[in-house]
Subunit: 431 residues, 2 copies
């Protein structure tokens, strides 16, 4: 099975009523697995040029369901174009939670996610918040944090090396109450109400076993806002963000993003490690810079994302290019120089960030920035060396950002048919 | 001029470059006033049944511009279907701000709003955050709070009676730092990035004259999420919210929502008074109720919004209907009984609320609820008597909500051609 093929692992539940009147009655043929297959064919197609994807994403906003790209969970590489809204949440197990409780929670979440992402009402769910809304490309991605080992029967010694807590980085100012967590969940959809309802459903299902530790929400460009749905999005500093992201079309994409099928940590094969950072942008200081100064900080032109070494957005960056006066076209402390794989032993990760806007800080400044999500096969070959390099080499961008929270989660592979999320960890004999 | 006609008061500025490549090149005929006229023809049409509006709103998400429905500002009654994102912000004048500064600020905001809502880059704006996004139905609505009188040359005695600070209501728990303000701004669009960029632009334009006091953001259903774009939206309690809202098709709509053309306060003719309340929902308690209990609290069925007195969503509520056992079908303390115009001397307002999700409170509960926006010709015939009745009569819904912040603003009429927002207040001789 290649990266661009998908498999729907959950059959439609005959006992679950359709949440959506129009799914049942309005759109012929859009039922259950057929929805997923049709949607994934589009989202994995990933064409930037055709008009069809824009029409499909926009006109089908409500009815689009994202299939599980087995053996991976959805929400990492698919949909290829990020949904407009996202929430990241951490849960902590309640003291004394048992192995049976954790297993039951993962089974309940697996069933609920299958229903919610298909637009069905989970059994027993009386919450009508999203009634009348379609699946809206909802994805829900689940994993385990370092702190869960030692709880609910999980042997602390079984924690994989990749899930060791992140090292401290220079100049970070982390809020421990809004960092880390036993369980991590990433939810995204093209409708904020659908995301909210999904997290409420998971929270109710966790009652008695796990409680929310922190919840943060953000957004990216709305479908249809740009005529080119595949265009690189902009962050709140006004930059194109994600130009050099790995793409599924690259032959080494899976190796960078997903844990290998023969990895030593069997329960993570097909999974991915998520590094999450809340990065506040010091926008008043940023706005006080000239555009030319901002471009030197980043190493790219602000309007079109072209590297200062020349060309257009997707022209390869020439780190050795010089200005007429002999200075480096991309400064020694420019963000794209220090973050480049070439500067970090080939370290790479798939970034799928969300902008956040939480109003004002206590001192009246914008409480806004980037919910940074980076997906990788191994943080030691992804986020960790890059962030160490950025901070040790005094990345010029550091003066305009503050890392406020941090978390690391082992986002498990997709459940097998009839199985549940994390089964290979929680019950290795059965998986 | 009737309520359903519009006028574009700002001509396209020949000196402002188009922010949007695709506006200039991609959509023939979608330039300047033509955009506004086409868009307003749709949004004011307000049909619920035709397929065209859904297609228009969704396919045209990026390119839709909302025209000013002169003499009113946009963002009150148009677009008829609320945009997916909204931000409410208050600004305070800096100490010692002069009348000339306040006038210059209103002139700058007027010009910036004309550009932003048409998808143009305001002169001198180097912020590229929304570059590549269309207008996305952006509206920006501006007004004055009670506290501005006595500052910048505004005579405290000239404050209209309608703008007296709201009375205290029973059981509210208001955070003064996030309440009130000298100036109020409501921004909404179908793309959160476009809203954020617009507020940043206004904030930069205010530097030296006014500073943000508080900023809160929320969302409503995304365009295309439901097959019926005119369907009543749901709040985070799962209820249809807004069923009994006045509609522009009703003959007394303008009288309820807008200050009359012959009102004593000349500078508010065509304007509207905005009551803003941040209402947190106690969702854990709410979810612990049965659906039947929740329906008694509200007085409507949760799934379809039909009143407990019978019928369907839009069936008139029969407050005297009885159950077979002789009890009231809609209980004495049901929210819709106490909030009904019939229970409040005909008091009515146009509610355009936004759901908000700010993560968790310090005690781990959902910090989520409703950003309540109510528009009315006079708060004394709108919000005030209704809220007094709700609290004095112990509205059953009060047990599941907390009013956390409060503000009142006199949202001025639209500027005349060549004029500026608030001109009739700040320079009565010229308006």
């Amino acid at each position: 099975m290649t990266e661009t093929e998908t498999e729907t692992t959950q059959a439609p539940s005959a006992s679950s009523p359709s949440r959506r009147v129009f799914l049942a009655g309005g759109a012929a043929g859009l039922g259950g697995a057929a929805v997923g297959a049709a949607a994934s064919a589009f989202v994995l197609g990933g064409s930037k040029s055709a008009a069809a994807p824009a029409d499909h994403r926009v006109a089908g906003l409500g009815t689009t369901a994202i299939a599980t790209p087995f053996p991976h969970q959805a929400g990492i590489a698919v949909p290829a174009i990020q949904q407009g809204h996202g929430t990241v949440a951490a849960f902590d197990l309640v003291p004394g939670a048992t192995p049976a409780q954790l297993k039951a929670l993962m089974q309940a979440w697996t069933a609920a996610i299958a229903d919610l992402t298909a637009g069905r009402t989970p059994a027993g769910d009386a919450d009508t918040t999203a009634l009348g809304s379609g699946p809206c490309s909802l994805t829900v991605t689940v994993g385990f944090g370092p702190s869960v080992f030692g709880k609910a029967g999980l042997d602390p010694a079984s924690r994989p090396a990749e899930l060791a807590p992140l090292p401290a980085f220079r100049a970070e100012q982390l809020d421990s109450a809004r960092s880390d967590g036993d369980l991590g969940v990433v939810l995204a959809a093209d409708d904020a109400l659908v995301v909210f309802h999904a997290l409420r459903t998971l929270t109710r299902a966790a009652a008695g076993t796990a409680k929310p530790r922190w919840v943060m929400s953000g957004f990216s460009r709305a479908p249809g806002s740009s005529p080119d749905p595949g265009a690189t999005g902009r962050n709140l500093m006004g930059q194109l963000d994600g130009t050099n992201n790995p793409t599924a079309a690259q032959p080494d994409f899976a190796g960078k993003v997903f844990v290998a099928p023969d990895a030593a940590t069997a329960w993570m094969r097909g999974g991915s490690y998520l590094v999450f950072r809340r990065i506040r942008m010091l926008l008043t200081s940023w706005d006080a810079q000239t555009t030319a100064a901002q471009e030197k900080v980043i190493g790219r032109h602000k309007a079109d994302g072209a590297p200062l070494s020349g060309g257009t957005e997707h022209t390869p960056v020439d780190l050795s290019a010089q200005n007429p006066d002999g200075s480096l076209a991309i400064r020694g402390d420019a963000h794209i120089r220090l973050a480049a794989p070439a500067s970090n032993g080939g370290a790479a990760m798939l970034r799928r960030g969300l902008s956040y806007d939480d109003g004002l800080t206590a001192d009246g400044e914008p409480d806004a920035g980037l919910l940074f999500l980076a997906w990788q096969a191994d943080p030691a070959r992804g986020f960790i060396p890059v962030q160490q390099h950025l901070t040790r080499s005094m990345d010029a961008l550091n003066r305009f950002t503050t890392h406020e929270t941090s978390a690391l989660f082992a986002m498990v592979p997709a459940p097998k048919a009839g199985g549940y999320l994390g089964q290979a960890l929680l019950d290795p004999g059965s998986a």
